[in-house]
């Protein structure tokens, strides 16, 4: 909470983002290159799935980051609702496009992996359907921003979409336990799960952290850019009136 209130000050946020963004960018580059190298060249094939297991290293992190992006968007919207802080709205808005892209990547790579493992690109099972709904929620959120001219009103409606839609996150997570699906139950986060061998866990974690830092870099850059655009807009009328006065 202390960190959030510290960064709620736009000047402090800008200072933090200008230092953190390039660090996140470099870390993302290194980790993603390492993840791809290990995932495609170093890790062995799986006993059951063969080489197709390699798709997991881009599929699972993409869906995780999509979910994390939505959680961040909903949380930032909640802060914006409670404290009416425009920076929180900008943060929520900055998460939407990258979040949608990662979710779409997760769905696409999942369809390709599904074809190799289950023989089908798509099934209307709980996990796939709820992940597709996640993508639609991102699109809906962005559509509200794009279709509403009054920025404050757009932020309120889009924030509501983000918060109400967050009910979908536990549905995605627990869909494999609640319904009979093609997906297996959790293998990474559950303490009593069978677990993954290090040769599979390493590329998975490299890609997950790489994607996380990439997402962090994107969001911080997008917020910095939108702050800068907003201050340009504020300065422009002032500059125009000064010119008029001098004339």
């Amino acid at each position: 909470m202390g960190m959030i209130s510290f960064l709620a000050n736009p000047l402090r946020f800008k200072k933090f983002a200008r230092i953190a963004a390039p660090i996140f960018g470099v870390l993302a580059l290194v980790l993603i290159i390492a993840g791809i190298w290990v995932g495609l060249w170093r890790s062995p094939e799986d006993q059951l799935q063969g080489h197709s297991v390699r798709i997991m290293y881009v599929h699972v992190p993409a869906v995780w980051i999509g979910m994390m992006a939505y959680a961040a968007m909903a949380l930032a919207s909640l802060f914006a609702y409670i404290w009416r802080h425009t920076l929180a709205d900008e943060l929520a808005r900055a998460c939407a496009l990258p979040g949608a892209a990662f979710t779409a990547l997760g769905l696409l790579s999942g369809a390709l992996w599904g074809k190799t493992s289950w023989g089908t690109f798509w099934q209307w099972d709980g996990r796939m359907t709820s992940t597709l709904i996640l993508l639609f929620l991102f699109i809906g959120y962005m559509a509200v921003w794009a279709g509403t001219t009054d920025k404050r009103r757009a932020a309120r409606i889009a924030g509501l979409v983000a918060m109400v839609g967050s009910i979908n996150l536990p549905i995605i997570k627990f869909s494999v336990d609640w319904w009979n699906t093609l997906h297996q139950t959790s293998s990474v986060s559950m303490p009593d799960a069978p677990g993954l061998p290090p040769s599979i866990l390493l590329p998975l974690m490299l890609m997950t952290f790489g994607y996380s830092f990439f997402f962090g870099w994107l969001v911080l850059s997008r917020v910095l850019n939108s702050i800068s655009k907003a201050s340009d807009r504020r300065q422009r009328p002032a500059a125009a009136s000064t010119t008029m006065e001098t004339l």
Binding site: L40, W41, I55, V58, L105, S109, L112, F214, W217
Partner: protein
């Protein structure tokens, strides 16, 4: 270690997954760099 590894019957699916993922990341990277450069001007 092959320069381009052969994944047999899964090659198309694996390369497509990685190719699209990298393309999207690169797209975002270029777009963000352009936006950042405009901001710093």
């Amino acid at each position: 270690m092959d320069i381009i590894p052969d994944f047999g019957k899964y090659s198309l699916y694996i390369w497509l997954s990685y190719g699209v993922s990298v393309a999207v990341l690169l797209g975002f990277t270029v777009y963000t760099f352009v936006q950042n450069a405009r901001r710093k001007k």
